[in-house]
C-alpha cells in the first residue's frame, strides 16, 4: 500500500513541477499566452482545464483499455480521442449551464477554448502510453492541471507587474512575455532531479 502511495506522490511531483506541461514540455502554450493577462482569468482557466482534463483522461483510459486494445484499433486513437474531448466539453458546458449556473459563469467562457487545447489531448495520450492504472491516471491528470495552473498564475502575476515597467518599445507585448517565460522555465529547471 505504501509503495502505491509513494508512486502516486512521485507522479504528482514529476507531473506538476519537474515535467511541467508548459515550461518543460511546451504543451498548451496557446492558452498560456492568451489567458495569462490577469490572475483572476488564469485561475478560472486553470480550473476549467483541470475539470476537463480529469474527465477526458478517465474516459479515454477506459476506452483504450476496454475497447481499443482488445479490438486492435490503435490506429484510430487520434481521431477518437479528440472527438471524445470535443463531445465531453460540449456535455460539460450544457450540464453546467443547466445545473450549476454559478460555476458555469466562472468557467463557461473558457470551455470552448479547451477543445483545441493540446494539453488535454497530450495528457490523454500520455495517460495510456505510460501504462498507468485508473487511479494513477486520475492523479496524473490532476497534477498536470495543477502544474498548468501554477505556470499560468505565475505568468499572469508577472504580466500584471510588467504593465508598470518600462520595456523597450519593440519588446512590448508578446516578446517580453516570452522572455519572462524563459526566465520562469529556468527557475523550473531547479526541480530537475527531484524525482528519480
Amino acid at each position: 500500500m505504501s509503495g502505491e502511495l509513494v508512486m502516486l506522490l512521485k507522479i504528482l511531483v514529476s507531473a506538476a513541477f519537474v515535467d511541467n506541461i508548459i515550461l518543460a514540455r511546451y504543451i498548451g502554450l496557446c492558452p498560456y499566452i492568451g489567458m495569462s493577462s490577469n490572475v483572476a482569468n488564469s485561475v478560472g482557466m486553470g480550473m476549467a482545464v483541470a475539470f476537463v482534463m480529469v474527465l477526458a483522461s478517465c474516459v479515454t483510459w477506459a476506452l483504450w483499455n476496454f475497447v481499443f486494445l482488445p479490438l486492435h484499433l490503435e490506429y484510430l486513437r487520434i481521431m477518437v480521442f479528440i472527438l471524445v474531448i470535443a463531445v465531453l466539453v460540449q456535455l460539460v458546458e450544457i450540464l453546467l449551464k443547466k445545473n450549476v449556473p454559478n460555476l458555469y459563469r466562472a468557467m463557461g467562457i473558457y470551455l470552448p477554448l479547451i477543445t483545441t487545447n493540446c494539453a488535454i489531448l497530450a495528457v490523454t495520450f500520455f495517460g495510456v502510453d505510460y501504462g498507468y492504472s485508473l487511479l494513477q491516471v486520475v492523479v496524473y491528470s490532476i497534477s498536470v492541471a495543477l502544474g498548468f495552473t501554477v505556470a499560468l498564475v505565475l505568468l499572469a502575476g508577472i504580466r500584471e507587474r510588467l504593465r508598470f515597467s518600462r520595456v523597450p518599445s519593440f519588446y512590448q507585448g508578446y516578446p517580453i512575455v516570452f522572455i519572462a517565460t524563459a526566465l520562469l522555465a529556468i527557475a523550473f529547471l531547479g526541480f530537475k532531479g527531484l524525482v528519480k
Binding site: 499566452i33 497530450a122 519588446y171 516570452f178 524563459a182 522555465a185
Partner: protein, 199 residues
C-alpha cells in the same frame, strides 16, 4: 490569379501564424532542437493544412453551421493519422524524436483556425493558397529557430559538425528556456524591422 499570390504571401509575411498570430506555438518550440526535425514537422503541418483546407473548402456548402467543428476535427484528424502512420513506417527515428507532437498536429491551432476563419468561407483555390502560405510561413519560422538552436546547442547543422570541435554546446539552447527566449527575440526583431503587430 492575383488573389492567389496575395493569399500565399499573406501567410508567409503579412499574417505569419507563429510570429504574428501567435498560434501553433507548441510544436514550434518543442521540435526545433534540430533542423531535420523542423523540416519534417513543417512538411507534416503543410500536408495536413493543405489537404484539410482543400477538403473543408470543397465541403463548405454542405456542412451545417452547428456541427461544423466536429466535422473539421474528423477531416483534420484523418490527415494527421496519415502523417503519423507514414512517419512511423518510413522515418521511425524522426517519428520517435518528435514523439507526441505529430499526433498533436490535430489540435494545432493554425489548422483549426484557418479552417474556421478561411477555408470554410472561400473557394478551394484560395483556400489552397492560404494553406500553402501559412504552411510555408510556419516551416520558415520553425526552421529559422531550429538553425540557431542546433548551431549553438550542438555546434552542428543538420547533424554535420558546423562549429569547431572545441566549441562546447550551450545547454541553454537545447533546454526549454532557450526556445522561449529565442522566439521572444524573433518577434522583437520583427517588430523592430518590419513593423508592429496590429492588436
Amino acid at each position: 490569379m492575383r488573389e492567389f499570390w496575395f493569399y500565399l504571401k499573406n501567410g508567409i509575411i503579412g499574417e505569419n501564424p507563429i510570429l504574428r498570430l501567435m498560434i501553433g506555438l507548441c510544436s514550434v518550440l518543442a521540435v526545433s532542437v534540430r533542423v531535420d526535425n523542423c523540416l519534417a514537422m513543417g512538411a507534416g503541418v503543410l500536408f495536413v493544412l493543405t489537404c484539410s483546407s482543400l477538403v473543408i473548402s470543397l465541403l463548405r456548402n454542405f456542412v451545417p453551421r452547428e456541427v461544423r467543428i466536429p466535422i473539421f476535427i474528423v477531416v483534420i484528424s484523418t490527415f494527421t493519422t496519415i502523417v503519423d502512420l507514414v512517419m512511423q513506417a518510413y522515418l521511425p527515428s524522426l517519428s520517435r524524436a518528435m514523439g507526441v507532437f505529430i499526433p498533436l498536429i490535430v489540435v494545432n491551432c493554425i489548422i483549426m483556425g484557418r479552417a474556421e476563419a478561411f477555408a470554410s468561407r472561400k473557394p478551394p483555390l484560395f483556400a489552397l493558397a492560404d494553406a500553402l502560405g501559412m504552411g510555408i510561413g510556419y516551416t520558415l519560422v520553425i526552421t529559422a529557430i531550429g538553425v540557431v538552436r542546433e548551431i549553438f546547442g550542438y555546434g552542428e547543422l543538420l547533424s554535420v559538425r558546423f562549429l569547431p570541435a572545441s566549441f562546447q554546446g550551450m545547454m541553454f539552447m537545447i533546454l526549454p528556456p532557450g526556445a522561449f527566449f529565442l522566439i521572444g527575440i524573433y518577434i522583437a526583431l520583427l517588430n523592430r524591422f518590419v513593423g508592429r503587430v496590429k492588436q
